[in-house]
């Protein structure tokens, strides 16, 4: 069993290019088939930047065959993902569904 790599998603105020690059590097390092869990607890009412980052990470992971999941999503995040139909694209960790 692979031990999931947990990355902590930053809140929008701390998203800059270095953070994004760091997160991208962590996904790349995970390797194909490895799980990466993104701790989304800092994100309560997701902003455009946070959703954009989340989608970018998910797509990066998908492109690299990494099993990318969201951990501790807030109700606001779940709702927003559903509105944008991103719940089809981004997986939530088991047990996080309401």
């Amino acid at each position: 069993l692979s031990v999931p790599v947990t990355i902590v998603l930053p809140s929008c105020t701390s998203v800059d290019s270095s953070v994004v690059e760091s997160l991208a590097a962590q996904i790349q390092a995970a390797g194909v088939g490895s799980p990466v869990v993104a701790d989304a607890s800092p994100i309560q009412n997701p902003t455009a930047a946070e959703i954009t980052l989340l989608v970018a990470l998910a797509r990066e992971a998908s492109a690299r065959g990494v099993d990318f999941r969201i951990l501790h999503p807030s109700q606001g995040l779940i709702e927003t993902l559903r509105h944008l139909r991103l719940d089809r694209e981004i997986c939530l960790s088991p047990g996080t569904l309401p």
């Binding site: 800059d16 290019s17 270095s18 994004v20 690059e21 997160l23 991208a24 996904i27 009412n45 997701p46 902003t47 455009a48 959703i51 954009t52 980052l53 989608v55 970018a56 990470l57 797509r59 990066e60 606001g76 709702e79 927003t80 509105h83 944008l84 139909r85 991103l86 694209e89």
Partner: protein, 871 residues
């Protein structure tokens, strides 16, 4: 069918009937303002509701007709065509047919309606040819973008079923493309934006799109946009404004190709009924489009319709139940009255609390009957509304340009009266349109507007409701009415000759009377007006008619507010009890030695504060042979009747009671003094007095309430043939046409002055009234000296600076043209003589009198006349 089903069916019929009523009025109004979006939506919803609920019950003929009407309405609503008179007419015809079918829904298939469907479909085909044979765009015309689906639609994951509710509901479809940054720029969270959208429509699907795919390595994730497939009733402009979206971000999805798209995606189940703009019955390709076979709406949708009914604060009550309640309340009032009498008889007995209990019951009873009565009242507008259709149809049929003006439609009447009023009003309106109003060319030749007007109004007046049907048409010629009546054998030539113009006008109420040269399906058979009068009188009402040649006709109907229970004063006269409705009663006055009844101008009057109130005696009216002496304790009821105020002398005042009005039997019905009968608390019957009937012919307008200013403006409309009969102290009687007199002034002799041999009355600092004594200018006997008080008849302009002296007013009466003898007495200022009020009377020519007396025109008018003459 179970009771529940029957109940549901009744509900359908009631609802659909109400929808049809508003539908008809809205369709007619739409004709004058085809762009009224609210009205268009209302019409559409009405038809849609009828169709939907009819489908629920499986009344497919109703569904089929409503469906094609709905199709046409949606084309109009989408702005793809303008509803012209022809289209409106066909929609109205469709609504008529729907009404018939809804009246007997189970047998709706037996009512022919194919012609209506075909007529409506013809318009639809012209406006929007069927998809099978699309018309080619004109060369150079760009292909309409509304006819193609945006390619973005393919990106959404939707099924045909997702689109069906929106298509059926006539909603608009949009693809909204907006970046997440733009949403934030609107001050919204993403979630909040979606929630707001969902509050005004349905989000069918959404997807996110990356503007580019640079990847995370660049350190800047690609911007995300979302694309939303959205359906709503809102128009795109409103949507853009409401959400502050960039205009380019809202992409309309045309409904017709969307319908095709849904069909191509293979919407399962019954054929899809599209209600929006380009709606068509979409059927499988191997079936031809046949609107007459429009399928019933989806059961799942329709099952919910009646259940979706909002729980309202009103309930429907059968009218017969209200009638029963009213009758019971009437009986209860009578019982209460008897109980009150008994309680009064028990006064002083040992029955403790009886009086207060009776008072309590009395109050509750009054409250109860008042509440039930209010429940029976209904705005007269519900009746007036149907005449927009009547006038519209008739004006089209007769080729006349007619406007119907309605006022006072909020006035409420007992629904029994409203029901009874429907047919008479229809007759009157049809008569006005058919006979009263002229063709446009004829109107223009008389200097009138080519558009004729019919006015339908209702107003509260002296406790009654007055309804008027007036037109500005050709009016009625009394001479023609007379000759027609002679021709039809209704009157003899001698009777006609004696008839005043007013009486001649009444001839139209005679059975079999019609002046129409040709009998049409509209009117002219002579069976209308007598039925009208009979019906109005059955309702306790009164009908009156005024007409001026060339100016129009006005028919006035006065109706009681309700037929049921009214407060009344019980009075006694010669030992009999009568009920006087309090609505007409202003006050009760007791003449005494300080203020006795006096004779003024030949009539009895009572000085009431600063007015002279003409008084008539109830005993004398009911028994003309009765002695004139008043009992020592008589009372004068000051009564108000529209603009007429007079007193009624009665012997006793008994009590006040709420009386239950019962109609008079046919033997008493013709007596004008009574409006009904009632049962009093003691159990005896009392006749209800009708003040109008009592005053008729006894109180002239000149007698009614001489005001403090001692001038009396003749406010009532006077007829050309009406004259004021007066004396001037000589042996002769004179008559002055009311049309030539502006007012009557009461003058004291001490106020007269003689200037240069002229008798003058100073009126104010600047003007004087020159008084004329007829004996000075006419060949009549010498009058005596002027009494202390006398009257002055002031002619109309331009001779209003003169006044003709009168010592007494006899009465006003009609002067038939035929009654005038212009040969016996031929003198300047005299029209002739006539037998009026049993006396030979000299009929004056007022301008002639003034000219003979040397009364010229006022200086200003004289110079104007001169300059015109010299020019």
């Amino acid at each position: 069918m179970s009771d529940h089903d029957n109940e549901m069916l009744d509900l359908f019929v009631q609802e659909s009937t109400e929808h049809l009523q508003t539908l008809e009025a809205d369709l007619i109004a739409l004709e004058s303002d085809p762009s009224d979006a609210d009205r268009l939506n209302r019409i559409f919803r009405a038809v849609h509701s009828i169709k939907g609920t009819a489908g629920f019950f499986g009344f497919s003929p109703i569904v089929n007709l409503a469906h094609v009407m709905e199709n046409l309405m949606s084309v109009i609503r989408a702005g793809e065509m303008v509803a012209g008179p022809a289209t409106i007419s066909r929609l109205i015809a469709g609504a008529d047919r729907l009404a018939l079918m809804i009246g007997a829904p189970a047998n709706a298939d037996e009512i022919p309606h194919a012609a209506e469907i075909a007529a409506l479909q013809e318009i639809l085909n012209k406006e929007k040819p069927p998809a099978a044979a699309p018309s080619k765009p004109a060369p150079g015309t760009p292909a309409s973008s509304s006819e193609t689906l945006p390619s973005e639609l393919d990106d959404f994951e939707i099924s045909a079923a997702d689109c069906l509710p929106g298509l059926r509901g006539g909603q608009n479809f949009y693809i909204i493309q907006v970046s997440l940054d733009e949403i934030e720029a609107l001050g919204q969270t993403i979630s909040g934006f979606f929630n707001e959208l969902a509050s005004v429509g349905t989000i069918l699907d959404a997807r996110t799109i990356s503007d580019s795919t640079p990847g995370l390595q660049s350190g800047a994730p690609a911007r995300l946009s979302c694309s939303i497939l959205f359906t709503t009733q809102l128009e795109s402009g409103i949507l853009i404004d409401a959400f502050g979206l960039p205009a380019a971000s809202v992409l309309p999805v045309p409904r017709k190709p969307l319908g095709d798209w849904v069909r191509d995606r293979g919407a399962a189940g019954p054929a899809v009924v599209l209600t929006p703009a380009a709606d068509r019955t979409i059927v499988p390709a191997n079936r031809s489009v046949a609107l007459t076979e429009a399928p019933a709406p989806e059961v799942t949708e329709l099952h919910s319709m009646p259940r979706r009914r909002k729980i309202e604060e009103t309930v429907r009550i059968n009218v017969s139940l209200l009638d029963q309640l009213m009758n019971l309340a009437g009986e209860m009032v009578l019982g209460r009255n008897q109980l009150v009498r008994l309680a009064e008889a028990q006064a002083g007995s040992q029955v403790e609390g009886l009086r207060s209990a009776v008072q309590e019951i009395s109050a509750v009873t009054s409250n109860l009957q008042g509440t039930i009565m209010r429940a029976r009242l209904h705005p007269v507008g519900s009746l007036f509304g149907k005449y927009t259709r009547v006038v519209r149809d008739l004006s089209q049929k007769l080729g006349k340009d007619i406007a119907l003006e309605i006022s006072g439609d909020e006035v409420e009447l007992d629904r029994a009266i409203l029901e009874g009023l429907s047919d008479p009003l229809t007759h009157l309106v049809r008569n006005s349109v058919d006979h009263g109003l002229e063709q446009a060319a004829e109107r223009e030749s008389h200097g009138k507007s080519p558009r004729g007007t019919v006015r339908l109004s209702a107003a509260h007046l002296a406790g009654r409701v007055q309804i008027e049907v007036a037109d500005d048409g050709r009016g009625m010629d009394p001479a023609k009415l007379k000759s027609k009546a002679i021709e039809k054998g209704l009157v003899t030539p001698e009777q006609a000759a004696r008839m005043a113009d007013n009486e001649a006008l009444q001839l139209i109420f005679a059975a079999g009377f019609s002046t129409a040269a040709q009998v049409s399906d509209i009117s002219g058979r002579g069976v209308g007006m007598d039925v009208v009068r009979t019906n109005i009188e059955k309702l306790g009402g009164h009908i009156d008619l005024q007409s001026r040649i060339g100016l129009g006709t006005r028919i006035i109907i006065r109706l009681p507010l309700t037929l049921a229970i009214v407060p009344a004063l019980i009075v006694g006269s010669r030992g009999q009890r009568y009920a006087m409705p309090q609505i007409n009663l202003e006050e009760i006055v007791r003449p005494d030695a300080d203020n006795p009844l006096r004779i003024f101008g030949g009539a009895e009057v009572l000085k009431l504060r600063d007015e002279l109130l003409p008084v008539i005696r109830l005993a004398s009216i009911l028994d003309p042979g009765a002695l004139k002496e008043s009992p020592s304790s008589s009372f004068v009821l000051a009564l108000r009747l529209e603009n007429l105020r007079f007193g009624l002398l009665v012997d006793e005042i008994m009590s006040t009671e709420e009386i239950v009005v019962k109609p008079l039997g046919r033997h008493l019905n013709a007596i004008p003094f009574y409006s009904g009968a009632t049962l009093l608390g003691q159990g005896e019957i009392a006749l209800i007095l009708d003040p109008a009937g009592l005053a008729h012919g006894r109180i002239s307008t000149t007698q009614a309430a001489l005001p403090n200013s001692k001038t009396l403006a003749l406010t009532r409309t006077v007829d050309a043939g009406r004259v004021l009969v007066f004396t001037d102290g000589s042996a002769e009687r004179f008559a002055a046409p009311l049309t030539a007199i502006t007012r009557v002034e009461q003058v004291r002799r001490e106020h007269l002055e003689r200037i240069g041999g002229l008798l003058c009355l100073r009126r104010n600092r600047a003007t004087t009234l020159q008084l004329l004594r007829l004996a000075d200018f006419l060949p009549v006997s010498t009058p005596g000296d002027l009494p202390e008080e006398f009257l002055v008849l002031v002619p109309k302009e331009p001779h209003s600076h003169a006044g003709i002296v009168a010592t007494g007013i006899v009465d006003s009466t009609d002067l038939p043209d035929a009654a005038l003898d212009d040969t016996t007495l031929n003198a300047p200022g005299v029209q002739g003589t006539a037998q009026l009020l049993d006396r030979l009377t000299i009929v004056l020519d007022i301008p002639g009198v003034c000219a003979t007396a040397g009364i010229g025109l006022p200086p200003a008018l004289e110079s104007a006349t001169l300059s015109l003459t010299t020019a």
